[in-house]
Every structure is written in C-alpha cells, then in structure tokens.
C-alpha cells in the first residue's frame, strides 16, 4: 500500500520553527482525531466529542486550531522541540525536516514483530534564515503567516477528499488503528520522524529500514 505523502517547504527564522510546525501538525491532527470510542458491546460503541482551542503564535502572526487535549499537545510539542533544537543547534546546517506519519498496525505473526504500515505522511521541510534587520523580520513574519495560511487551506482541501482512511475496527483491534492512550481524544496512530541532515528520504523508506533493522535484530 502506498502512503499519501505531502511535503511542505518552509523558510523561516529558527525561533518560528516550533510554532510553524505545530500549526501544520495540529491542523492535521485536529482532522485526524476522533472522539473516544466507548464500547457498550463488541459492535456497539458511542463516540465522545472533540473540543478545540485557538492557539496564538508568539513569533508568527498566526492562529491555529488544535484539539483541546493537554496530553496530545504535550506529545506534539515534545517531538517538535527535539527537532527544532537539533535544527537550530550549532552542528546543524540550517535545514531539516520533520514528518507526522499516520500508520496502522498489522497483527503479530509468528516470528515477526508488529508491522506498522503508514498510510499518510505529512512532512515539513525547513530552511532556516537569519534576518539582518527588523524590517526584514517584520516582512518575513507576514510572509510566514501567509505561507501557513496557504498550507492550512491546502490541508483542509486534502482532508475533504475522499481518500483512504482506515476503517473503524472492532473493539479488539482498535489499538491497531487508533492511538487509545489519550484520555480525551482518539487520533489515528501517529508518530514523528525527523532528520536534520538535509536528507530527503521519505519516511516511508525510513519506516521500511527500521522494520528491516528490527527484523534483523531478532
């Protein structure tokens, strides 16, 4: 199965990275989050509701929407933070990428570890720039916010296409599709991946590599 892959190229200042990436990923995750499933029988369940919050950016003139879930926000923030610190560190060459990958698991088979199959990957490729003066910075601040507006419009456009999304399974297999670890929301299984070496290997490849490595390690 081929995963859908979207790549966003952004250029901005180092301090804007966290918020820019967060605004894109949270917009995606907001669409990919469902209410918690509460099973009353194996086939019957009720779905909780998802609240949303406006988040104002500090370094970009932008506001995005995310699910009102502290645990989800924390997890996204931590992942982005790791990436952005690496990206902004002295060893970095000033470019890198971070991806949000939705995947589903396949049931364990004898001898093989659990297999993760990504079905949608959102990648943000970042190039850092430095501004000479405050005018440039102000201009860039507006540019970045315009860029993000475009991206959000694009994301919503994609979300409303009738593309593949894993079907809701029975209760026993819920964990293979959804991340049930959050107390308030139930997103599809997702993970973050990042690299700051400037490599553009799609995360699909990374995932495959990882699987092969893990298999060999066995």
């Amino acid at each position: 199965m081929n995963a859908r892959s979207q790549v966003f190229d952004l250029t901005m200042e180092g301090r804007q990275v966290d918020e820019a990436v967060a605004s894109i990923f949270h917009t995606v995750l907001f669409h990919r989050c469902l209410g918690k499933y509460m099973y009353t029988g194996d086939a019957q369940y009720s779905i909780g509701t998802v609240g949303y919050s406006d988040v104002d950016c500090d370094f970009i003139d932008f506001t995005y929407v995310c699910c009102t879930s502290d645990s989800l926000t924390q997890r996204v923030k931590r992942a982005i933070n790791l990436f952005s610190e690496k990206l902004r560190s002295n060893e970095s060459c000033g470019s890198g990428q971070i991806s949000l990958e939705f995947f589903q698991k396949k049931k364990n088979r004898w001898l093989f570890p659990q297999e993760s199959i990504p079905w949608e990957v959102w990648t943000v490729h970042l190039d850092l720039i430095k501004h000479e003066n405050e005018d440039e910075r102000q201009l860039c601040r507006e540019n970045v916010s315009d860029m993000l507006t475009e991206k959000v419009i694009y994301i919503t456009e994609l979300m409303n296409r009738h593309d593949y999304v894993p079907k809701t399974p029975s209760q026993s297999e819920l964990d293979l599709i959804f991340d049930t670890s959050f107390p308030d929301v139930q997103p599809y299984l997702f993970k973050f991946d990042y690299s700051t070496t400037g490599s553009t290997v799609p995360s699909m490849g990374n995932a495959m590599k990882k699987i092969i490595k893990e298999t060999l390690a066995m």
């Binding site: 669409h31 209410g35 998802v50 919503t156």
Partner: protein, 547 residues
C-alpha cells in the same frame, strides 16, 4: 419498499445538513467575536453533532433560524444557499464586506453521484445505506473541522481579533441567497472547504474573502506594508484603510456581544473612502497621544490640574506686590472679605483711645505667623460681637455703596479707603503659615507692612478718623455681603437707616472692648519689645493716609 428506504435516508441527510448549517454559522460567527475559543473534549457523552464541541450562541441560532425560516414541513434543501457574511464597520460608519461563507447544495446527475460517492453506497441494501449515512456524518464532521481551521486563517480573523469599539467592529449577516461575492472587491479569493456528494446532491461549503485591505491612507512609504493574503500581492487601492500592525486594544474583549446583536444590512458597493480612518489616525496620534495620561491617572483631576497650570505661570511670584490698586478685580475684592473683619475689630478698638497697645495688637494679628498670634486673634474674635454688628458703622458715611453691595462696583470708595483695604488683602497674603520666623519671606512681609500698612489713627477722638476707618469697613462690608449672604446686606441697610441706633451699638461695643482691655494689655506685654519703633513709623504713615 426501496423508495421508503430512500426517503428515510433523505430524512437523515436533511437532518445532517440542517445541523451542519446550524453549526457552521456558529463556528463562523463565534470565530469573529474577537476572542479565543476553547471548548472541552467530552470523552463520555457524545451529544454534540458531528462529535465536535461547538457551543451554541443563542443569538446566532435565532438568526440562522430566522434566515432559513423553516416551517415544520419544509426541507432545508430548498433553502440552501445559506450565506454568512462578515463585514467590518468603522466608528465613522464606513462599511466593508470582508468575506462570505456559504453552504450550498447543487443538484447531482445520477451517474456522477454513483461514481464519486463512498464505495459503500453503490449497492442498494439497507446496510449500505446506513453505512453511507454514517460516512456522510463523518465527512460532515471533517468538513466542520476544516471550517473551524479555516476561519482562523482568513484576514477577517485577524481583523476581528483586533476590533475595538473605537475604531471598528465586526458584524455578521446570515441570509439565504447566492453569495454576493461582488461586494468583496477585486481580487477576492475563493476557497472550497469541502464537497460532499450525497444522494440528494452535492453539498459544497466554501468561502470567498477580500484580499485587498489597505493599511494606511498615505500611499508612499506604506506601500510595502500592504496586507497581502494568500498568494496575491495587492497594490494600493481606493478601498477603506485599515491599520494592521497595531496591538490589539485591551477593551475589545467586552464588545462582541454588542456587536452580535447589532445586525445591519450591508450597503452594496457603497464602500466609503479612506477618510474615516484618516480621521481616526489624526485623532489618535496628533492630538490625543501627547496629552494621553498615564495608566492610573484620574482623568478629571488631570484636566483640572492642567487648567490651573495654564493660569498660574502668568503671575510671577510676588507680582501682586506691584499690582495697581485701581485694577483690583472682583476677585481681589472677594479675597478682602475675610481680612478686613479682623482688622476692623482692632480699628474700632483704636477709637477707644488706647493707641499704642492696640496698634501693636493689630500688628501681631496681621503677622499671624506664630501660634501666639493666632491665639490672640482668636481671643479678639471671641471677645467681640458678631461680624454683622461690626459692619453697621460702615453705613454711616458711605451709605450709598453699602446699600448696593451685590453690584460689587464701588468706584466712590476707591479714592479713600482702597489703600487700606488693599493693604488688608496684601497683609492677608503675607501670612506665611509655614515660614520660619527668621526666613527671608518673613522679612519681606515685615518690610512691606512697615512701609505700606495704614497706621492706626492718631486722633481717635476726632470724627474724621473713625470715619475713614468706617469707610474702609464699609468697603469690606460690601464685599463681604456680596460674597456671603444678602442677609448681612439687609441688616446693614436697615442699620444705615437708623444712624443713632448704630452709634449706640458702636459705643456698646467699644465698652465691651474696654472691659477686656486688660486682656489685650497682657497680651501685648507678652510680645513687648519691638513695639515702639514700628508704631512710630506707622503713625507717620498713618498721617499721610488720613490726609
């Protein structure tokens, strides 16, 4: 049987669409209230439509229902191009349509419908129809989420967050019609939020928004900061001017509710020029800003202060020492009202013959610098009869002016008594309650007194002398009466008619003073030393004055 099922599915769809419309208006209007929105997840009870927590604002709900005007039997599908128009209105009354969000249902030809709909919908059995409606429900949920996300990205969102009653407010209008995009000006953008193909048609949610919002009326250097939205870069345009790079005023948090209720039809195409905002700019920057008070200043106090500030610097310190007597204003007359009274006591006492002592007493009273002087002053006042009676003799020689005290015009009196009465006021002004006895100001006061003060009259027994004093009293009496109450004036007038009676009164008072003469002597003896020299100088001055 199959038509029945189809009807049931349609009923479901109709319901979904109706609630999608209701929730959409809520989402759009609430996003323009100017405040951040946060709704809480509810993992347990899923009562909210499309599993998204969207609070219902009653006004918006009413407004939507009014626009749809659905009667019980009506289907929402016939009413559908539902639009939410967001507009901006400045405090000057200029209006500009910012964006139009719309939910439309387009008819779908059958073969296309089969092709684009969810795969589960191809068959005809009951399960699949149910599944389809479920899928539609989920899709609508995603559409609503997209709507929530997109409402934060259009330029109107930023404007709505910065709205405040002083500059502009954001308004909404819900109507059922084709979206009026021609009001959005040139180069407006159109974004399709989502399309959902159903058995009843293709449900399309979209937004059209204005991209040309100009910041500032002056064309030149502001061109670089023109707001550009999305991909379009806009040139200077004759549309309304908006400031974009201003911090959000703090007061706008409480405005949205009022904005919500105020619902105005737009003036189509009639978008005013830049004047409104130019004016606002001028008012804020050119005039008010320099005068703007600090954070916690009491505005009323500040204004008072500035007015006084304008008046005060015009008179240099001690300028009043140079003031010409004839230029005495009403104000200064008023000021005199208090001082002559105390002086009158003493002058009248002087009539009784004890020149030197009382002179001295007068001096002390006027210095009024230390507590002892104050005490003595009080004593004198206590000892004498009320002020009213003291004023009576004034009418004796100058009855005309006293009879008309309210007019406060006393040209006749100016020749004789002005010097003394003015001195009184000056002396009053020369009281420096907080000056130390050795300070220079004190010396100045003393010097002034010694040079100018009307001396006690030598020939107290003579008729002339008391008359002068009395006239001065009269002048002061007039002023006092004008300042305080007409009752005093009436009494004075009445007394003026009966001269003899007043003479009796006077003599009675003199007697009273005489009886308390010992007290005064004692007082004077307490201050004893420097009396004689000052008396001498003053008496010479006094001769000059009385002549």
């Amino acid at each position: 049987m199959s038509t029945q099922r189809l009807n049931a599915a349609e009923k479901d769809l109709e319901k979904f669409i109706k609630f999608l419309a209701l929730k959409s208006t809520q989402v759009v209007v609430q996003s323009r209230l100017g405040e951040k929105i946060q709704t809480q997840c509810n993992p347990l009870a899923g009562n909210d439509w499309f599993n998204i927590v969207v609070q219902d604002h009653p006004d918006v709900l009413d407004e939507t229902k009014r626009a749809l005007s659905l009667k019980p039997g009506d289907s929402i599908m016939q009413r559908l191009p539902l639009c939410i128009e967001i507009s901006l209105k400045t405090s000057e009354g200029d209006q500009m349509i910012l964006e139009v969000w719309s939910l439309d249902l387009l008819p779908l030809d059958n073969n296309k419908a089969g092709g684009t709909e969810d795969t589960g919908n191809k068959g005809e059995n009951e399960n699949q129809v149910l599944k389809a409606s479920h899928a539609i429900y989920n899709r609508m949920g995603i559409m609503l989420k997209s709507l929530i996300s997109l409402t934060r990205t259009t330029p109107a969102y930023k404007l709505s967050r910065r709205q405040c009653p002083d500059s502009y407010g954001i308004f909404y209008r819900i109507y059922v019609d084709r979206p009026q995009v021609h009001t959005l000006g040139e180069g407006h953008k159109h974004v399709k939020i989502g399309q959902l193909n159903t058995i009843v048609g293709s449900l399309i949610m979209s937004v059209a928004y204005r991209t040309k919002l100009t910041i500032s009326p002056t064309a030149g250097h502001h061109q670089a900061t023109t707001i550009t939205t999305g991909t379009t870069t806009t040139a200077q345009q004759g549309t309304i001017m908006l400031k974009s790079d201003h911090f959000r005023p703090a007061s706008d948090a409480n405005s949205p509710t009022s904005q919500l209720s105020s619902f105005k039809p737009p003036t189509l195409g009639g978008i005013g020029g830049a004047n409104g905002f130019e004016k606002v700019d001028k008012r804020h920057i050119d005039i008010e800003k320099p005068l703007r008070p600090g954070a916690f200043t009491d505005l009323g106090k500040l204004r008072q202060f500035t007015e006084h500030d304008f008046v005060l610097p015009e008179t240099p310190p001690f300028e009043w020492l140079l003031r010409c007597n004839r230029q005495d204003s009403i104000e200064s007359l008023h000021r005199k009202c208090e001082s002559p009274v105390s002086n009158n006591n003493i002058n009248i006492n002087n009539n009784n013959g004890s020149n030197g002592n009382l002179n001295h007493n007068n001096n002390i009273l006027n210095i009024n610098n230390n507590s002892a002087a104050f005490k003595s002053f009080e004593k004198v006042q206590v000892a004498t009869s009320p002020i009213k009676s003291l004023l009576i003799p004034a009418s004796r020689h100058n009855s005309a002016p006293t009879l008309q005290p309210q007019q406060q015009s006393q040209p006749a009196q100016q020749q004789q008594p002005t010097t003394s009465s003015d001195d009184d006021s000056l002396l009053k002004e020369l009281h420096f309650p907080f000056a130390s006895p050795t300070s220079h100001v004190n010396d100045l006061a003393k010097f002034y007194r010694e040079c100018y003060h009307a001396p006690p009259l030598r020939g107290l027994g003579e008729l002339q002398a008391p008359s002068t004093v009395a006239t001065s009293c009269g002048a002061s009496a007039a002023a006092t009466a004008a300042a305080t109450a007409s009752a005093t004036a009436a009494a004075a007038a009445a007394a003026a008619a009966a001269i003899d009676g007043s003479m009796d009164d006077l003599s009675r008072q003199l007697e009273q003073f005489e009886t308390s003469l010992e007290d005064y002597d004692k007082l004077v003896s307490q201050f004893g030393l420097s009396g004689s020299s000052s008396t001498g100088s003053r008496s010479s001055g006094g001769l000059q004055m009385s002549n």
